[in-house]
């Protein structure tokens, strides 16, 4: 056992300053023993000659400068992993909380991971069918993508994330060839592929955490899920470790055990706030809105841990959820996230208030990887055209609607009226769908073509003429 130091001189928020230390290294894990015998984990934020600044991962409550012992463990924060980890539930700092035994580790992994060499990445281009039209057609999710949900307080992001986790699958070769779904789209794609869900909750309420747990139990997914739960009443700083634990497990499952892993991280806003708290305690020069200047880099070390690797079967698809304060997309958290992730699914309060589920707004939502996952051999030849046309037409329809509010509907010309009608139907028939409704991509595309009937043919500039000929029904 290494030396225990009793030389804590300062405690401020989640930070401890220990003097007289020797041989301490940056980022080293340490164990803090409080005078009453409780043990806490922490890591070294700054190592100087004879001094270390330690950040606790757990609450500092009860810590004293007198009597607190601190041991440096000569390793970084690690988690033990093995395939038995599936089906287990852990606290936000990686302790089992489901009453089960400790994991007997096959190996121990540093939770910070190492950056993937961009040269060894495989470009993600496999279409994932989520059964949700607005995602499948307009914001196509791709295996190995990081696609966050930008939500707001009170919007149904949890239900949406659960629905995606429940319904996501790939198309079979046969389906692609035929251009129609089999078994009503219910059956999973390739049978020989292994799937897993890794779920990390950061500062969410007990009920929200329960919701996911119940969902996974209900669908039988719990046996192939790993949950890390840091609820709102758990220590704030613990949240800094939670997503890293989850992603370390995900990397192990994906790149060493060939699983296709979906990682759900909720709620990234709470994570960033924990980071701000530590930064403020260190008295660092703040960037925008008090968040540390390195927020971008820090978030990138989380989000970039998604993708595919050449020669490896597995993949990590990341769906982080964040609630935008005041629904403001320019707030630093959604802003920096959007710069790192490969698009975003944006939920809209207006649509939600109209009773639309899922309230995914095409304007502001985007999947950057979709270009290579749409079209022949992936979905269907007309996919990208339908996508562009639907989005452009809906955007125009919404503009017309605003105009109609000012000028009155009667002042609109025929083309504008057509767009207005299109926008109405688009919301009711394309965006809106049931929480249990699992539409195949082909059904979703068919709805799109049906909506195009509202528009004059000359307005269909984004779809290829040959496709119009083939898919647009003749007007009666």
């Amino acid at each position: 056992m290494s030396t225990a130091y009793k030389t804590v001189t300062d405690i401020a928020g989640p930070l401890l300053i220990v003097k007289g230390v020797e041989g301490v290294s940056y980022d080293e894990l340490c164990e803090i023993e409080l005078p009453d015998g409780q043990k806490r984990l922490g890591k070294v934020l700054e190592a100087r000659e004879g001094l270390a600044i330690v950040q606790l991962f757990e609450s500092a409550q009860g810590a004293q400068t007198e009597g607190t012992k601190i041991r440096f463990l000569q390793r970084t924060f690690e988690i033990g992993v093995s395939e038995d980890i599936l089906g287990r539930i852990f606290s936000g700092s990686g302790r089992p909380i489901d009453g089960g035994p400790e994991i007997v580790p096959e190996k121990k992994l540093d939770i910070n991971g190492t950056p993937i060499n961009p040269f060894t990445r495989e470009y993600p281009d496999d279409f994932i069918q989520t059964g949700i039209s607005t995602i499948d057609v307009l914001n196509t999710l791709v295996r190995g993508q990081k696609l966050p949900i930008f939500s707001g307080a009170g919007l149904p992001h949890n239900r949406l994330a659960a629905q995606i986790a429940r319904q996501a699958r790939v198309l079979t070769e046969e389906e692609m060839a035929k251009g129609e779904s089999q078994d009503g789209g219910q059956k999973a794609g390739q049978e020989d592929e292994k799937f897993a869900v890794v779920f990390a909750a950061m500062g969410v309420t007990f009920e929200e955490a329960q919701y996911f747990q119940r969902e996974f139990e209900k669908t039988g997914a719990l046996s192939r899920a790993v949950l890390f739960l840091n609820t709102a009443d758990n220590p704030v700083v613990e949240r800094i470790a939670t997503p890293r634990l989850a992603l370390t497990v995900a990397e192990y499952l994906a790149y060493e055990k060939d699983y296709h892993v979906t990682v759900i991280l909720t709620d990234m806003t709470n994570y960033c706030e924990a980071l701000r708290e530590v930064s403020a305690a260190r008295k660092e020069v703040p960037g925008r809105r008090g968040y540390p200047g390195y927020l971008y880099t820090d978030l990138a070390t989380i989000y970039e841990r998604a993708g595919r690797i050449r020669g490896k079967k597995g993949s990590i698809t990341q769906i982080p959820i964040l609630t935008m304060p005041e629904d403001d997309v320019t707030h630093p958290i959604p802003d920096l996230t959007g710069y790192i992730t490969e698009g975003q699914i944006r939920l809209d309060r207006g649509l939600h208030q109209k009773g639309m589920y899922p309230p995914i707004i095409p304007m502001g939502s985007l999947s950057r990887l979709k270009a290579k996952a749409q079209g022949e051999g992936k979905t269907r030849e007309d996919h990208s055209g339908v996508d562009a046309q639907l989005t452009a037409a809906y955007a125009r329809g919404v503009e017309v609607r605003e105009l109609a509010v000012i000028l009155g509907e009667s002042s609109l010309n025929d083309i504008d009226k057509a767009y207005l009608k299109f926008a109405e139907r688009f919301e009711k028939e394309f965006i809106k769908q049931g929480e249990e409704e699992n539409r195949s991509i082909f059904e979703s595309l068919a709805i799109g073509w049906d909506l195009f009937m509202e528009l004059p043919k000359a307005e269909l500039k984004r779809v290829k003429a040959a496709h119009t000929e083939k898919y647009l029904k003749k007007r009666s």
Partner: protein, 603 residues
């Protein structure tokens, strides 16, 4: 002389060491037992602050720091092209081989350029020739596209003592030169410190366009070869797609593409696509003219700061050979943030929004390395380096310091607009906000090489777009009916310019690249339509719908998909059709009005 110090503090990428009296500013050091690469960025007496280019976890006080005596430099020799480097010029492929893992471990040491590959060196000078710095000693066919010119290193003049053609590795001596301070040996491999611009004879005024094939850029907001441009925009507006299109299609001979603090998958995309895509000018794979540098957002932040300098030094090297080089940096905001992070750790007094006070001067220093130049040497070579930097302003707010500092030194501003992207209008470059200060420089070229009235048409087109925005405000208040027929025609023409000319699909094979000549003809066709229609819209009870539903309008909508070959004839035919169809309308409508008069008279 002591070349070793001891670490006294580690905080993220910043390490402070004592016993560093002999360290120089910007000297490369090896940190700890792991031999991490670092660079001295501050000296305080005996102490040195070092930014470390690799992850520092597990490093602690007491460990050694070793001086290397060199400043951070890049290696320059044949073999740069087609290679994919990290921010400090380590080839990522070799890292993979060395690490035997898809991840990047620490302390890995791989050479930037192969020491064993032999290159066929053809001497172009002979012994006894007098040479000066920058003169070409010989050439190496580096790729099928680029002939590498081995130059006399800067600050060296004399007579060639000995030189021979043959097969050499980059470290072998290919020539010896008798100079005033003795005989100097020259190998193909040369080094240059990344923070110092490479010298040139003099700068020229850039007066040729860097043709990009993107219509909104080439026609409305052109950039010159040797110019500097900025693409700021919020996320999702298409910075990366624009940068990649530029890298694919612009008519520079050498491309340096820097992925600075961006997504790993984007670099993978480039890496996968470039070997497959053909250079539109030569038909060879694009990769053969490209150097890629990637420091993705999760790679160490200090190396991100260095990556833009690594890239621009390599770019300058090819410029010095007499090539037109284009450099894309995506994104310079991440570079600025890396500076901010280091500055914060150094506890410097922050300037605006926490950025260091020297943000402006560093930004200017970087963009000023662009330019059209006369190269060193007595051979009258000309090269150019165009720099295009993406900027990622937080919240899409252009008033933030990085955007503002960039705009002060770049002459082209391509403002990306999220609203356009929402409407799937690509490239989502806002035509009202963007500008190019090279328009006048390039006017001569356009009227000589493309068409006499190119510039005039351009002015009309951009005028129409300006007018459209004014008219749209009126429409928003009082509706379309309030507009005069002439104004309605303006709206219709502007709409054609937007939808049929500016809108461009980067993923369509034909549409992605349009030659200058075709761009000219497209604009001319649209303007022909407007001119022809002007005569008839003023007629009484003219039905605007008829004009809108002319078959020629559909033809115009399809122009962008016409292949370059044979386009000229198609445009001739189209212009004729436009005139005929509108003339027919004129005849038709006057017939109707004559008939109406008859009916009225009869009644």
């Amino acid at each position: 002389m002591s070349t070793q110090g001891t670490i006294i503090k580690v905080a993220g990428p910043l390490v402070v060491a004592k016993g560093m009296k002999n360290a120089k500013m910007y000297e490369v050091v090896r940190v700890s037992k792991e031999n991490l690469i670092g660079e001295v960025i501050e000296l305080h007496g005996d102490n040195a602050s070092i930014q470390v280019y690799e992850e520092t976890s597990g490093i602690g006080p007491g460990e050694p720091v070793t001086l290397t005596g060199e400043t951070l430099s890049v290696e320059l020799a044949p073999g740069l092209l087609t290679t994919f480097y990290d921010g400090i010029q380590r080839p990522l492929k070799l890292i993979e081989e060395e690490a035997r893992s898809p991840f990047i471990p620490r302390g890995i040491n791989v050479p930037a350029l192969s020491r064993s590959t032999k290159w066929e060196f053809k001497a172009t000078k002979k012994s006894g020739d007098a040479v000066q710095e920058g003169d070409v000693l010989g050439t190496v066919q580096e790729t099928t596209l680029i002939e590498h010119r081995v130059m006399v290193p800067p600050h060296m003049d004399g007579t060639v003592k000995q030189i021979e053609s043959g097969s050499f590795t980059i470290e072998q001596i290919v020539a010896t030169i008798e100079t005033a301070d003795g005989v100097k040996e020259v190998a193909m491999l040369q080094k240059w410190p990344i923070r110092i611009p490479r010298p040139y004879a003099r700068k020229r005024r850039p007066n040729e366009p860097l043709v990009t094939g993107m219509r909104i850029l080439d026609t409305l907001f052109p950039i010159a070869r040797g110019g500097a441009g900025a693409i700021p925009g919020p996320f999702g507006a298409g910075k990366t797609v624009t940068q990649q299109s530029l890298a694919k299609f612009c008519n520079a001979q050498v491309i340096v593409y820097i992925g600075c603090g961006e997504r790993g998958n984007e670099m993978t995309d480039v890496l996968k696509e470039f070997p497959e895509l053909q250079d539109p000018n030569t038909g060879e794979p694009l990769m053969k003219r490209t150097v890629l540098i990637a420091n993705t957002s999760n790679m160490p932040v200090a190396a991100r700061e260095a990556s833009v300098y690594t890239g621009i030094t390599i770019a300058e090297y090819y410029r010095d050979m007499g090539y037109d080089v284009a450099l894309m940096a995506d994104s310079t905001s991440r570079w600025a943030e890396a500076m901010r992070e280091m500055s914060g750790r150094l506890e410097e007094m922050p300037g605006e929004e926490g950025y260091p006070a020297y943000l402006g001067s560093r930004t200017a220093g970087f963009y000023e390395r662009a330019g059209a130049v006369e190269c060193l040497g007595g051979e009258d070579r000309r090269g150019s380096l165009s720099v295009i930097g993406a900027v990622s302003p937080p919240g899409g707010d252009f008033s933030e310091p990085v955007t503002q500092n960039t705009l002060r030194v770049t002459k082209v501003f391509w403002a990306l607009d999220a609203k356009l992207a929402y409407k799937r209008h690509y490239p989502s470059i806002n035509w009202l906000q963007s500008y190019s200060l090279y328009v006048d420089n390039l006017a001569d070229y356009y009227s000589k090489e493309i068409a006499e009235d190119f510039v005039a048409n351009r002015t009309i087109a951009s005028g129409l777009l300006q007018e459209e925005s004014k008219l749209e405000e009126i429409v928003r208040l009082v509706g379309t009916d309030a507009l005069s027929p002439r104004e309605q025609l303006t709206l219709a023409t502007a709409q054609m310019i937007r939808e049929d000319f500016l809108f461009q699909n980067a993923f369509d094979r034909v549409d992605a690249y349009t030659s200058l000549r075709k761009q000219y003809r497209m604009i001319r066709a649209i303007l022909t339509f407007m001119e022809a229609a002007q005569e008839i819209v003023e007629q009484e009870d003219f039905d605007f719908k008829k004009l809108q539903s002319l078959p020629a309008k559909e033809e115009i909508a399809g122009m962008s998909f016409w292949p370059e070959e044979g386009a000229e004839e198609k445009f001739d035919a189209l212009e004729k059709e436009i005139r005929q169809q509108i003339a027919a309308l004129k005849a038709g409508s006057s017939n109707v009005s004559v008939r109406q008069q008859e009916i009225a008279a009869a009644a």
